[in-house]
């Protein structure tokens, strides 16, 4: 029987994968993907818990997050394209300009 804990474990694994991606990746595009993975990990958790408590609020939240993520990707990809046109690279080490 697949229970709540299975979903949560999946969610945690996905989140960790995303987190490692965020910490290790140097390419901006990859960072984006990693954050998407983290968001979706949270979505899974929301949906599962919502089902567990029989409360639709969590699933609604998941939809919201999907919507927000979609618009974020739209804006973010736009910025990435501009950056790429300007610098010819999406590597973070090349983009660092605000050295303190």
């Amino acid at each position: 029987m697949i229970g709540l804990s299975h979903y949560l474990v999946i969610s945690a694994i996905l989140f960790s994968i995303g987190l490692v991606g965020v910490l290790r990746r140097r390419n901006l595009l990859m960072l984006f993907f990693a954050t998407e993975v983290m968001l979706n990990a949270v979505n899974i958790a929301f949906a599962a818990i919502s089902h567990y408590y029989n409360d639709l609020t969590g699933q609604m939240f998941a939809f919201f997050i999907i919507a927000v993520a979609a618009s974020e990707v739209a804006v973010g990809l736009g910025i990435l394209i501009v950056l790429y046109k300007k610098h010819g690279s999406l590597d973070l080490d090349d983009l660092a300009s605000m050295r303190g």
Binding site: L23, L28, L31, D93
Partner: protein, 639 residues
């Protein structure tokens, strides 16, 4: 009568302001004349007041206006003319008048002539405030006022450079002026404390109110007040150990030395003790009074001993002033206040005369003061010689001149109080006094002529100056004859100033007087044999003797100035430097700066986190999130 009080008080002030108007312009003789006339007016007013007091016995007391009032404290400008203050007023204004006229002649080549008169009259005004005030704070005004005027006048020739102590023991006029001011300030603190004690215990500073409260005060309070006030008196009257400034103050022009550092200001300390005689005659302060008498006797002897070897004309007279002040304190400490006051007046006359005579010599010798370079000046300066001899006879205490009567009475008092040791010291000092004052006369006016070889061409002072000095000469002779009537006059003030010799002393009075005269004459004879003769037996300088231990000890004033310099001035300077460079800049400010530097440094160190690389930021964010989560978890578990 009230108007006369104001005239006596403010005439010198007007004179000072008048002279100050011309302070920065060139020398104008009339400034000196106007100032002298105004001081003369003050003298006439004082004399009238004295006469009136003598005839009617009415003490004049006036209150001019409020000064300071805060909380319960209240003090106003009030003046009292009673037997004590009127004596001082008359003496001060008389000597001042003579000195003012004298100064017209003495200062006539000085470019700061007008400024000099402004200061001198301001001094007289302060002195009048000092003696006339009816409360301790008013006295303190005058007290500080004369201090400032003395500072201005000692440093009158401010442009002279500093010299090494070996070349000039007083270093420079401005140095001597500062020394005098600061030493007096040390004593003034004592005086202020005395004022505080009296105020908080009697609720007033008015003489009569304070004195009326005295019987109800505890012994400790009385002692404290007496000691504190006497510390004030020690500074102004240059008693040991605050005495070094007086001889250095001789850097000032001679009229200043005559007026301030001989006749008037330095006697203010004695005046204070006499003024506060109800306090000093309380039984509880007997110890303090005896200390005053002992210190006075000690200073009398101590100063006389230094005068024995001094070569500087003015410094000898300064030492003798110091010594005579010691006599006055001895009398006051033993309870013979009126004798002290009488000696004060007599001393003012003959000492001022002596100084002014010294000024004539100085003027004649182009500011040369070394006695060893003089000799036989008598043939050039007959008038001055007569004056100075008269003054010296008075100082030595030979009858019938003023000094004999007053000084003899003091010595007799010491005998009467059964303080035989003090008596012996005072008699011995009388002999020394006679010796050094005649040593000075003989070295300068008698013996072989030593100045011509050195290229001096002395000339006698102006006639009008000599005439102006004559009142002092007359008074130096006759003052003593009025001792009896003065006694009757001052006895009216009350029991505390009255002092009578016991029958036993009275019986022996003639013998005691003879002993003093014997010592004085011996001193003069020794001085004559050693210094006055001419030809074969003429005095020769003995360089070898000057290297002797005692000679050097006396010559260097018992090394007291040296001691002050080495153990007070220099360490103070060093400590100040350390406080500034080490403590304030390094420790206090260093701490403040190190706090600032800590934050600055912390920012500088953590700045490297700001790489500009998004990836690094994200890493830090993760660290932060983990940290926060851990804290939340830990606090949840604990809570």
């Amino acid at each position: 009568m009230e108007n006369l009080v104001y005239v006596a008080l403010f005439a010198p002030f007007v004179g000072s302001l008048f002279a100050a108007l011309f302070g920065m312009s060139e020398r104008r003789i009339f400034v000196g004349i106007v100032a002298s006339i105004l001081i003369g007016i003050a003298f006439l007013a004082s004399a009238t007041l004295a006469y009136n007091l003598l005839m009617t016995g009415d003490v004049v007391q006036i209150r001019m206006m409020d000064w300071i009032s805060a909380g319960d404290f209240n003090v106003s400008f009030g003046f009292v003319v009673d037997q004590i203050s009127v004596t001082m007023m008359t003496v001060v204004s008389l000597v001042s008048t003579v000195v003012h006229i004298y100064a017209i002649g003495y200062m006539d080549h000085d470019k700061s002539f007008n400024r000099f008169f402004s200061y001198l009259s301001a001094f007289v005004f302060s002195m009048m405030v000092l003696v006339m005030s009816d409360n301790f704070l008013g006295l303190f005004i005058g007290w500080e006022g004369v201090g400032v005027c003395s500072w201005l006048l000692v440093g009158f020739w401010y442009h002279k450079p500093d010299q090494a102590r070996e070349d000039n023991p007083s270093i420079s006029p401005s140095w001597a002026a500062n020394e005098a001011f600061i030493m007096n300030r040390i004593a003034d603190l004592g005086m202020l404390v005395g004022i505080f004690i009296l105020y908080w215990n009697t609720g007033s500073l008015q003489y009569d109110e304070v004195f009326a409260q005295l019987p109800y005060l505890s012994d400790a309070v009385l002692k404290g007040a007496a000691i504190a006030l006497f510390i004030g008196a020690m500074g102004k009257s240059a008693q040991f150990p605050l005495h070094t400034w007086l001889t250095d103050a001789m850097e000032g022009p001679t009229p200043v030395s005559a007026l301030i550092h001989a006749a008037t200001m330095v006697t203010a300390g004695v005046f204070l003790v006499i003024r506060a005689n109800p306090l000093y005659s309380m039984e509880a302060v007997e110890g303090v009074s005896f200390f005053i008498a002992s210190l006075g006797t000690f200073v009398a002897f101590y100063a006389a001993s230094m005068a024995l070897v001094e070569r500087d004309l003015k410094r000898i007279i300064a030492y003798s002033t110091l010594s005579q002040l010691g006599y006055m304190f001895a009398a006051a400490g033993l309870g013979a206040y009126w004798i002290a006051l009488f000696h004060l007046a007599a001393h003012a006359f003959f000492k001022a005369l002596l100084f002014l005579g010294g000024g004539n010599v100085m003027h004649a010798m182009h500011d040369e003061l070394d006695l060893f370079k003089m000799g036989n000046l008598r043939k050039e300066m007959r008038g001055t010689w007569i004056y100075m001899t008269l003054a010296s006879v008075a100082l030595a205490g030979l009858p019938p001149l003023a000094g004999f009567w007053s000084k003899d009475a003091i010595i007799e008092t010491a005998f009467n109080e059964h303080t035989y040791f003090l008596w012996g010291m005072l008699v011995l000092t009388a002999g020394m006094t006679a010796f050094y004052s005649f040593r000075q006369i003989f070295l300068s006016f008698h013996g072989e002529d030593r100045y011509t070889a050195l290229g001096f061409h002395p000339h006698e002072m102006y006639k009008f100056v000599l005439v102006a000095m004559s009142p002092l000469a007359v008074l130096a002779v006759i003052t003593g004859w009025f001792m009896g009537s003065y006694k009757a006059f001052i006895y009216k003030i009350g029991e505390s100033v009255q002092y009578e010799m016991s029958a036993h002393t009275h019986h022996l009075a003639n013998y005691l007087g003879l002993i003093v005269i014997f010592f004085a004459v011996t001193g003069i004879v020794i001085a004559y044999l050693k210094y006055a003769r001419t030809g074969e037996k003429a005095w020769k300088r003995d360089e070898e003797k000057e290297q002797g231990f005692f000679y050097k000890l006396l010559k260097n004033q018992y090394y007291v100035p040296k001691f002050y310099e080495e153990f007070i001035t220099k360490p103070y300077m060093m400590l100040s430097e350390i406080f500034w460079t080490k403590v304030d800049l390094k420790i206090v400010d260093g701490t403040v700066d190190s706090i600032a530097k800590f934050f600055y440094g912390a920012g500088d160190k953590t700045r490297s986190m700001q790489t500009g690389n998004l990836s690094n930021y994200l890493n830090w964010m993760a660290v932060g999130a983990v940290l926060l989560l851990t804290i939340a978890a830990v606090s949840a578990m604990i809570g």
